[in-house]
Protein backbone atom coordinates (compact mmCIF):
# COMPACT_ATOMS: atom_id res chain seq x y z
CA UNK A 1 0.00 0.00 0.00
CA UNK A 2 3.00 2.28 -0.19
CA UNK A 3 2.32 3.58 -3.72
CA UNK A 4 0.61 6.94 -3.85
CA UNK A 5 -1.36 7.37 -7.07
CA UNK A 6 -1.78 10.79 -8.74
CA UNK A 7 -5.57 10.47 -8.69
CA UNK A 8 -5.41 10.19 -4.90
CA UNK A 9 -4.23 13.81 -4.83
CA UNK A 10 -7.35 14.75 -6.78
CA UNK A 11 -9.48 12.81 -4.33
CA UNK A 12 -7.89 14.63 -1.42
CA UNK A 13 -8.47 17.97 -3.15
CA UNK A 14 -12.13 17.08 -3.75
CA UNK A 15 -12.40 15.97 -0.14
CA UNK A 16 -10.97 19.26 1.08
CA UNK A 17 -13.51 21.08 -1.12
CA UNK A 18 -16.36 19.07 0.39
CA UNK A 19 -17.22 17.42 -2.91
CA UNK A 20 -16.18 13.97 -1.73
CA UNK A 21 -16.66 12.61 1.76
CA UNK A 22 -14.65 9.66 3.07
CA UNK A 23 -16.68 6.84 4.51
CA UNK A 24 -15.48 6.98 8.10
CA UNK A 25 -15.93 3.81 10.11
CA UNK A 26 -18.32 3.92 13.01
CA UNK A 27 -16.69 1.36 15.26
CA UNK A 28 -13.18 2.11 16.50
CA UNK A 29 -10.73 -0.69 15.87
CA UNK A 30 -12.14 -1.77 12.52
CA UNK A 31 -9.52 -2.44 9.89
CA UNK A 32 -9.51 -0.04 6.96
CA UNK A 33 -8.36 -2.34 4.20
CA UNK A 34 -9.79 -0.20 1.40
CA UNK A 35 -11.12 3.31 0.95
CA UNK A 36 -14.50 4.58 -0.10
CA UNK A 37 -15.52 8.13 -0.87
CA UNK A 38 -19.08 9.36 -1.27
CA UNK A 39 -20.35 12.30 -3.25
CA UNK A 40 -21.65 15.05 -1.01
CA UNK A 41 -25.26 14.22 -1.97
CA UNK A 42 -24.90 10.55 -1.16
CA UNK A 43 -23.15 11.34 2.09
CA UNK A 44 -25.97 13.71 3.04
CA UNK A 45 -28.53 11.00 2.29
CA UNK A 46 -26.73 8.59 4.61
CA UNK A 47 -26.55 11.18 7.37
CA UNK A 48 -30.08 12.55 6.99
CA UNK A 49 -31.91 12.99 10.25
CA UNK A 50 -35.42 13.77 9.04
CA UNK A 51 -36.28 10.20 8.11
CA UNK A 52 -39.08 7.88 9.08
CA UNK A 53 -38.26 4.67 10.90
CA UNK A 54 -38.28 2.52 7.76
CA UNK A 55 -35.84 4.88 6.03
CA UNK A 56 -33.61 4.99 9.07
CA UNK A 57 -33.37 1.20 9.03
CA UNK A 58 -32.76 1.20 5.28
CA UNK A 59 -30.02 3.82 5.31
CA UNK A 60 -28.20 2.59 8.38
CA UNK A 61 -28.17 -0.94 6.99
CA UNK A 62 -26.77 0.55 3.80
CA UNK A 63 -24.09 2.34 5.75
CA UNK A 64 -23.01 -0.91 7.39
CA UNK A 65 -23.07 -2.56 3.99
CA UNK A 66 -20.79 0.12 2.55
CA UNK A 67 -18.40 -0.22 5.47
CA UNK A 68 -18.14 -3.90 4.58
CA UNK A 69 -16.26 -2.74 1.47
CA UNK A 70 -13.71 -0.95 3.63
CA UNK A 71 -13.30 -3.51 6.38
CA UNK A 72 -14.00 -7.02 5.13
CA UNK A 73 -11.12 -9.37 4.34
CA UNK A 74 -13.24 -10.89 1.57
CA UNK A 75 -15.46 -9.27 -1.03
CA UNK A 76 -17.65 -11.55 -3.11
CA UNK A 77 -18.92 -11.02 -6.63
CA UNK A 78 -22.43 -10.88 -5.18
CA UNK A 79 -21.46 -7.76 -3.23
CA UNK A 80 -20.03 -5.79 -6.10
CA UNK A 81 -21.10 -6.08 -9.72
CA UNK A 82 -19.85 -4.40 -12.90
CA UNK A 83 -22.75 -2.98 -14.89
CA UNK A 84 -23.27 -2.86 -18.62
CA UNK A 85 -22.19 -1.13 -20.74
CA UNK A 86 -18.74 -1.99 -19.44
CA UNK A 87 -17.28 1.06 -21.21
CA UNK A 88 -18.95 3.21 -18.55
CA UNK A 89 -17.01 1.36 -15.82
CA UNK A 90 -19.90 1.77 -13.38
CA UNK A 91 -20.33 -0.72 -10.54
CA UNK A 92 -23.21 -1.53 -8.28
CA UNK A 93 -22.93 -2.35 -4.59
CA UNK A 94 -25.70 -4.72 -3.71
CA UNK A 95 -27.63 -4.31 -0.51
CA UNK A 96 -30.58 -6.65 -0.09
CA UNK A 97 -32.09 -5.81 3.25
CA UNK A 98 -34.34 -4.37 4.47
CA UNK A 99 -36.78 -4.46 1.55
CA UNK A 100 -37.17 -2.45 -0.58
CA UNK A 101 -33.39 -2.36 -0.62
CA UNK A 102 -31.01 0.29 -1.89
CA UNK A 103 -28.37 -0.01 -4.57
CA UNK A 104 -25.29 2.19 -4.68
CA UNK A 105 -23.50 3.08 -7.91
CA UNK A 106 -19.94 4.22 -8.37
CA UNK A 107 -16.57 3.78 -10.03
CA UNK A 108 -13.07 2.72 -9.01
CA UNK A 109 -10.43 5.44 -8.91
CA UNK A 110 -7.71 2.86 -8.30
CA UNK A 111 -7.69 -0.67 -6.98
CA UNK A 112 -9.38 -0.66 -3.56
CA UNK A 113 -10.54 2.95 -3.86
CA UNK A 114 -14.21 3.29 -4.72
CA UNK A 115 -16.08 6.53 -5.37
CA UNK A 116 -19.78 6.04 -4.68
CA UNK A 117 -21.74 8.52 -6.75
CA UNK A 118 -25.47 7.87 -6.48
CA UNK A 119 -28.05 5.45 -5.12
CA UNK A 120 -31.53 4.26 -5.81
CA UNK A 121 -34.19 1.96 -4.42
CA UNK A 122 -33.93 -1.42 -6.12
CA UNK A 123 -37.70 -1.43 -6.58
CA UNK A 124 -37.47 1.77 -8.65
CA UNK A 125 -35.01 0.22 -11.09
CA UNK A 126 -37.19 -2.51 -12.56
CA UNK A 127 -35.65 -5.36 -14.57
CA UNK A 128 -32.12 -5.43 -15.93
CA UNK A 129 -31.39 -2.96 -18.73
CA UNK A 130 -34.46 -0.84 -18.10
CA UNK A 131 -34.28 2.91 -18.75
CA UNK A 132 -34.14 3.42 -14.98
CA UNK A 133 -30.93 1.38 -14.71
CA UNK A 134 -29.44 3.23 -17.66
CA UNK A 135 -30.34 6.52 -16.05
CA UNK A 136 -28.53 5.60 -12.83
CA UNK A 137 -25.49 4.43 -14.80
CA UNK A 138 -25.48 7.67 -16.78
CA UNK A 139 -25.77 9.65 -13.59
CA UNK A 140 -22.86 7.78 -12.03
CA UNK A 141 -20.74 8.51 -15.08
CA UNK A 142 -21.71 12.14 -15.22
CA UNK A 143 -20.97 12.59 -11.49
CA UNK A 144 -17.56 11.10 -12.13
CA UNK A 145 -16.87 13.46 -15.03
CA UNK A 146 -18.06 16.39 -12.98
CA UNK A 147 -15.59 15.48 -10.25
CA UNK A 148 -12.58 14.26 -12.18
CA UNK A 149 -13.11 15.85 -15.59
CA UNK A 150 -11.55 12.98 -17.48
CA UNK A 151 -11.39 9.24 -17.84
CA UNK A 152 -8.99 8.18 -15.14
CA UNK A 153 -11.36 5.50 -14.00
CA UNK A 154 -10.25 1.87 -13.73
CA UNK A 155 -11.50 -0.17 -16.64
CA UNK A 156 -12.71 -3.71 -16.14
CA UNK A 157 -13.71 -6.39 -18.59
CA UNK A 158 -16.55 -8.32 -16.96
CA UNK A 159 -16.08 -11.27 -19.31
CA UNK A 160 -12.32 -11.72 -19.10
CA UNK A 161 -11.38 -9.62 -16.11
CA UNK A 162 -11.02 -10.85 -12.57
CA UNK A 163 -12.47 -9.04 -9.61
CA UNK A 164 -9.09 -8.91 -7.89
CA UNK A 165 -7.93 -6.47 -10.56
CA UNK A 166 -10.03 -3.84 -8.84
CA UNK A 167 -10.25 -5.05 -5.28
CA UNK A 168 -8.12 -6.97 -2.83
CA UNK A 169 -9.69 -9.98 -1.13
CA UNK A 170 -11.96 -10.61 -4.09
CA UNK A 171 -13.46 -14.07 -4.09
CA UNK A 172 -15.87 -16.00 -6.26
CA UNK A 173 -18.32 -18.05 -4.24
Amino acid sequence: MSTWFPIWNEIKTLEAAGLLVPLALRVPGDAGRRAMFLTADLSAALAATNLGQAEIFRYMALRARLEHFVTSPVITKAYLKPLRPEADCVWEIVNRSPKPSLRVFGLFATRDVFVATNHQLRSALGGIDTPQWKQEIRQARSEWRRLFQDDKVIRFDPLRGRLDEVISGAVYV
Partner: protein, 139 residues
Protein backbone atom coordinates in the same frame (compact mmCIF):
# COMPACT_ATOMS: atom_id res chain seq x y z
CA UNK B 1 -26.04 3.62 39.57
CA UNK B 2 -26.24 1.32 36.56
CA UNK B 3 -29.91 2.04 36.16
CA UNK B 4 -29.08 5.66 35.43
CA UNK B 5 -26.84 4.58 32.57
CA UNK B 6 -29.61 2.79 30.71
CA UNK B 7 -30.89 4.61 27.69
CA UNK B 8 -32.84 3.46 24.71
CA UNK B 9 -30.63 2.45 21.80
CA UNK B 10 -31.45 4.40 18.68
CA UNK B 11 -33.06 2.83 15.62
CA UNK B 12 -29.98 3.92 13.69
CA UNK B 13 -27.69 1.85 15.85
CA UNK B 14 -30.00 -1.14 15.88
CA UNK B 15 -30.20 -1.19 12.12
CA UNK B 16 -26.51 -0.50 11.60
CA UNK B 17 -25.33 -3.23 13.94
CA UNK B 18 -27.74 -5.83 12.59
CA UNK B 19 -26.30 -5.38 9.12
CA UNK B 20 -22.75 -5.09 10.42
CA UNK B 21 -23.00 -8.36 12.29
CA UNK B 22 -24.63 -10.09 9.33
CA UNK B 23 -21.71 -9.02 7.17
CA UNK B 24 -19.10 -10.04 9.71
CA UNK B 25 -20.54 -13.50 10.19
CA UNK B 26 -20.85 -13.82 6.43
CA UNK B 27 -17.18 -12.92 6.00
CA UNK B 28 -16.23 -15.53 8.61
CA UNK B 29 -18.27 -18.31 7.01
CA UNK B 30 -17.19 -17.55 3.45
CA UNK B 31 -13.61 -17.36 4.71
CA UNK B 32 -13.86 -20.97 5.93
CA UNK B 33 -15.46 -22.02 2.66
CA UNK B 34 -12.66 -20.42 0.65
CA UNK B 35 -10.00 -22.06 2.79
CA UNK B 36 -11.54 -25.45 2.19
CA UNK B 37 -11.95 -24.81 -1.52
CA UNK B 38 -8.23 -24.12 -1.68
CA UNK B 39 -7.13 -26.85 0.70
CA UNK B 40 -9.52 -29.69 -0.12
CA UNK B 41 -11.23 -28.57 -3.34
CA UNK B 42 -14.54 -28.43 -1.49
CA UNK B 43 -17.52 -27.71 -3.73
CA UNK B 44 -20.95 -26.28 -3.12
CA UNK B 45 -22.34 -29.54 -4.48
CA UNK B 46 -20.64 -31.44 -1.64
CA UNK B 47 -22.06 -29.05 0.94
CA UNK B 48 -25.48 -29.47 -0.62
CA UNK B 49 -25.19 -33.24 -0.54
CA UNK B 50 -24.18 -33.24 3.10
CA UNK B 51 -27.14 -31.08 4.04
CA UNK B 52 -29.66 -32.77 1.75
CA UNK B 53 -30.18 -29.53 -0.16
CA UNK B 54 -30.06 -28.49 -3.78
CA UNK B 55 -26.73 -26.96 -4.87
CA UNK B 56 -28.65 -23.86 -5.96
CA UNK B 57 -29.68 -23.35 -2.33
CA UNK B 58 -26.03 -23.34 -1.24
CA UNK B 59 -25.19 -20.90 -4.02
CA UNK B 60 -27.96 -18.60 -2.80
CA UNK B 61 -26.77 -18.85 0.79
CA UNK B 62 -23.17 -18.13 -0.08
CA UNK B 63 -24.04 -15.22 -2.33
CA UNK B 64 -25.01 -13.00 0.59
CA UNK B 65 -26.16 -12.96 4.18
CA UNK B 66 -29.45 -11.12 3.79
CA UNK B 67 -31.63 -14.16 4.49
CA UNK B 68 -29.36 -16.01 6.89
CA UNK B 69 -30.65 -17.28 10.18
CA UNK B 70 -28.65 -18.86 12.97
CA UNK B 71 -29.73 -22.21 11.52
CA UNK B 72 -28.26 -21.30 8.13
CA UNK B 73 -24.95 -20.44 9.74
CA UNK B 74 -24.94 -23.64 11.77
CA UNK B 75 -25.81 -25.79 8.75
CA UNK B 76 -23.18 -24.26 6.50
CA UNK B 77 -20.44 -24.50 9.10
CA UNK B 78 -21.39 -28.05 10.09
CA UNK B 79 -21.23 -29.12 6.45
CA UNK B 80 -17.72 -27.71 6.32
CA UNK B 81 -16.67 -29.32 9.59
CA UNK B 82 -16.35 -25.93 11.23
CA UNK B 83 -17.96 -23.83 13.90
CA UNK B 84 -17.80 -20.28 15.15
CA UNK B 85 -15.64 -19.52 18.12
CA UNK B 86 -17.82 -17.31 20.21
CA UNK B 87 -16.34 -14.31 21.86
CA UNK B 88 -17.81 -10.89 22.38
CA UNK B 89 -15.73 -7.83 22.99
CA UNK B 90 -16.65 -4.49 24.43
CA UNK B 91 -16.35 -1.88 21.74
CA UNK B 92 -14.64 0.36 24.23
CA UNK B 93 -11.90 -2.25 24.60
CA UNK B 94 -11.21 -2.87 20.93
CA UNK B 95 -7.62 -2.29 19.96
CA UNK B 96 -6.50 0.16 17.33
CA UNK B 97 -6.87 -1.03 13.75
CA UNK B 98 -3.84 -2.82 12.40
CA UNK B 99 -4.62 -1.98 8.79
CA UNK B 100 -5.29 1.48 7.48
CA UNK B 101 -5.58 2.42 3.82
CA UNK B 102 -3.23 5.36 3.11
CA UNK B 103 -6.07 7.44 1.70
CA UNK B 104 -7.89 7.13 5.00
CA UNK B 105 -5.00 8.37 7.11
CA UNK B 106 -6.02 11.46 8.95
CA UNK B 107 -9.70 10.62 8.58
CA UNK B 108 -11.15 10.80 12.04
CA UNK B 109 -13.05 7.66 12.87
CA UNK B 110 -16.64 8.54 13.55
CA UNK B 111 -18.34 6.64 16.27
CA UNK B 112 -21.74 5.55 17.40
CA UNK B 113 -22.56 8.48 19.60
CA UNK B 114 -21.23 11.07 17.24
CA UNK B 115 -23.78 10.18 14.61
CA UNK B 116 -26.65 9.39 16.87
CA UNK B 117 -27.05 11.47 19.98
CA UNK B 118 -29.53 9.61 22.12
CA UNK B 119 -30.01 12.00 24.98
CA UNK B 120 -29.15 15.43 26.21
CA UNK B 121 -26.63 14.25 28.81
CA UNK B 122 -24.11 12.89 26.37
CA UNK B 123 -20.42 13.60 26.92
CA UNK B 124 -18.65 16.12 24.70
CA UNK B 125 -19.28 14.79 21.22
CA UNK B 126 -16.36 16.55 19.64
CA UNK B 127 -13.97 14.76 21.92
CA UNK B 128 -16.07 11.65 22.10
CA UNK B 129 -14.74 8.17 21.72
CA UNK B 130 -16.63 5.05 22.57
CA UNK B 131 -14.38 4.53 25.54
CA UNK B 132 -15.13 8.01 26.85
CA UNK B 133 -18.79 7.41 26.21
CA UNK B 134 -18.98 4.20 28.15
CA UNK B 135 -16.87 5.57 30.96
CA UNK B 136 -19.16 8.55 31.21
CA UNK B 137 -22.31 6.46 31.09
CA UNK B 138 -21.30 3.52 33.26
CA UNK B 139 -18.39 4.74 35.34
Amino acid sequence: MYENAIEKISDEDISYFRERNRNRVYAAVTGVFLRLVEKESLTKREIAFRLGKEPSQITRWLSGPSNWTLDTISDLLLAMGAELEHSAVLMSEKSAPSIRHPLMDGIRQCNVIELNPIGSDLPDRTAGTNAAYFEAKVG
